[in-house]
């Protein structure tokens, strides 16, 4: 078990966005966290990565309690993430976006950076080389000198993923990686996700689009902040509770 979430609860004022949520992510697998819009999926990501403090509960990553860690500390421990609305470093080029995300590996000391020492130059050369490689991996090498803000939506999504990969994560959290994409883009995005998994990265995907199910080894379904069910994709697909959550009562037959 790489990630374990126990009794996670988040109240926004009187509203419980997430309540008493338990689930886990097995090492090496792709786990889907699905549910209709407004189910609290993105909130779960923000709680895991420390963007918001949780009201109650515990998040354990690879044996370390990360419940009260800040976002940059969580990243340092090996959790990379993308964002649903996909904010980017808009005024950086694609390559600069990726290399700016190489903050952690390798990291140079402030003095090394400031005095442009051999260590720093070596690290920078390595970062450039690796950034190019990642841009090729996700299929962005033909637009690598474009400003991120000028890219079409699908490319921006890929860039978000490339950026997360640059942190060299052990666990990658993808927030709606195929939302708003056309079928071709979905195809290549799914391929990229699969490729990333094959390189040994554990993945947790938040998605409301059921198309993502084919990719998952395990699925956790939540609705209104509660877990409805979890299991294999084919089990979940036929689950009455899930159909009810997605389509309402009258469709469950």
């Amino acid at each position: 078990m790489l990630l374990e979430v126990n009794g996670l609860t988040k109240n926004f004022g009187g509203l419980a966005a997430v309540s008493q949520l338990d689930f886990h992510v097995n090492k090496g697998e792709i786990t889907g966290l699905i549910g209709p819009n407004g189910a609290g999926k993105t909130t779960v990501f923000n709680l895991i990565t420390g963007v918001f403090p949780s009201t109650r509960g515990q998040v354990v990553f690879d044996g370390t309690d990360i419940t009260h860690k800040k976002p940059h500390q969580v990243a340092r421990l090996g959790i990379g993430r993308t964002f649903q609305l996909n904010p980017l470093f808009g005024n950086f080029t694609v390559l600069e976006n990726i290399s700016a995300s190489f903050h952690l590996h390798p990291s140079s000391s402030l003095l090394d950076i400031y005095f442009n020492t051999a260590t720093y130059r070596r690290n920078e050369a390595y970062i450039m080389e690796q950034s190019l490689e990642i841009s090729k991996l996700v299929g962005l090498d033909n637009v690598k000198h474009e400003l991120a803000k000028n890219l079409p939506h699908g490319y921006q999504k890929m860039l978000g993923m490339a950026r997360a990969l640059a942190t060299r994560p052990r666990l990658l959290l993808l927030d709606e990686p195929i939302a708003g994409m056309n079928p071709d883009e979905i195809d290549s995005a799914l391929k990229n996700i699969r490729k990333t998994q094959q390189q040994g990265v554990t993945i947790l995907i938040v998605e409301h689009n059921m198309q993502i199910l084919d990719l998952c080894d395990r699925v956790v379904v939540i609705s209104f902040g509660h877990k409805i069910t979890e299991g294999l994709p084919q089990e979940v697909r036929g689950n009455e509770e899930v159909i009810k959550a997605y389509f309402g009562d009258e469709h469950a037959a």
Binding site: T49, V51, K70, P71, H72, A75, R76, G80, R81, F83, P87, L88, F89, G90, N91, F92, L95, E96, S99, A100, S101, H103, L104, S108, L110, I113, Y114, N116, Y120, R122, E124, A125, Y126, M128, E129, L132, H145, R163, A164, A166, T167
Partner: protein, 339 residues
């Protein structure tokens, strides 16, 4: 790990063009520096030398303000931090008898320390809230200068500050001293911005959410930017104190901060050279049209409006703009010739 040439050329599509551009920029910079260094040979009026010395000091202050700006924070108390540098250096030198050569770097460190200390709680504030927070902090500092009694000279100001060079020294040595200080400071700030530290700051400014998700410690980097910016504005302030040898809280009021902001905006906030150009234009122009001096705020506002409408990237983008006008014009002529 060495990169192959192929990868290098991969990264810079028009490598030769950018290298050429870099040399042109370097040549222009060197030319301007030499010109300014030779200026005292032509310019014998002590008053004009005095104006240039002030320009050098304000250049450091304006560029250091922009350093904080690159991290996405909008400081409106920067003039007051210049005052902290000035007053602390002046007071240590005057009341403890230390040499100004020692108190100036000490005062810069003091300013940096106070800036970082204040930066810690302020790192939680963003945008307008940060601006207002720093504004009122700056105003508070000015009142401390006024309320300091005989220690700070109160409302009548601090006088009898030990000068940097022996009394009776002409303006020329001061001119070269402050030119040197400005060059060293600008070089240090340039290096800061165009290293990975600067990249991280610009990343935070564009999206703090993304920046922290890739492991950049947002709070620490923002405090670092404030610390470095305050160090250099403190240095400028301390130099100012031992050059003019008199200080008043007025020198560092909110108006002083606004002028620094003006230098940055008119010159161009997105470019390192922007605030340098902005400071030279706004400090020197009123001196050449002395009769118009009382209208300086109006003229500056007019320049700002013109800049915002015609050159949103500031005066620094003027050459590029002229070049594009020129090529447009030539293109137009060629078409009329052809018809």
């Amino acid at each position: 790990m060495d990169m192959s040439d192929k990868q290098l050329s991969d990264m810079t599509p028009s490598k030769t063009a950018t290298v050429q551009e870099k040399w042109i920029k370097l040549a222009i910079t060197a030319g301007v520096v030499v010109l300014i260094a030779l200026l005292p040979l032509l310019l014998t009026s002590p008053y004009m030398l005095h104006i240039f010395i002030l320009t050098f000091i304000y250049t450091i202050a304006a560029v250091s303000l922009r350093t904080i700006l690159t991290s996405g924070q909008f400081p409106l108390g920067h003039g007051a931090f210049m005052g902290i540098g000035a007053y602390s250096s002046a007071m240590i030198a005057k009341w403890l008898g230390w040499s100004p050569w020692l108190t100036i770097p000490v005062a810069a460190l003091v300013t940096m320390g106070i800036g970082m200390l204040i930066g810690y709680p302020f790192a939680r504030l963003r945008t307008l809230y940060y601006a207002m927070g720093s504004l009122f902090f700056g105003m508070g500092i000015i009142y401390i200068f006024y309320a300091g009694g005989s220690l700070t000279g109160g409302y009548s100001g601090l006088t009898g500050i030990p000068p940097l060079l022996p009394i009776g020294t002409s303006k020329v040595p001061y001119y070269y001293l402050f030119l040197g200080l400005a060059l060293v400071s600008l070089l240090a700030l340039y290096r800061f911005e165009f290293s990975r530290i600067g990249i991280n700051l610009k990343a935070i400014a564009q999206s703090h959410l993304v920046a922290s998700s890739v492991g950049i410690n947002e709070g620490w980097y923002r405090i670092l930017a404030v610390g470095v910016g305050c160090f250099f504005v403190g240095l400028a302030g301390a130099g100012y104190a031992h050059y003019t040898t008199v200080l008043s809280g007025n020198n560092f009021s909110f108006m002083a901060t606004l002028w620094l902001v003006m230098y940055v905006l008119i010159g161009g906030k997105d470019s390192f050279a922007g605030p340098i150009i902005g400071t030279f234009i706004l400090v020197l122009i009123p001196e050449f049209f002395r009769d118009l001096k009382i209208y300086t705020p109006f003229i500056s506002a007019a320049i700002l409006l013109i800049v915002v409408f015609i050159m949103p990237q500031g005066l620094v983008s003027l050459p590029k703009l002229v070049r594009s006008w020129f090529t447009e014009h030539r293109k137009g002529r060629r078409i009329t010739h052809a018809s």
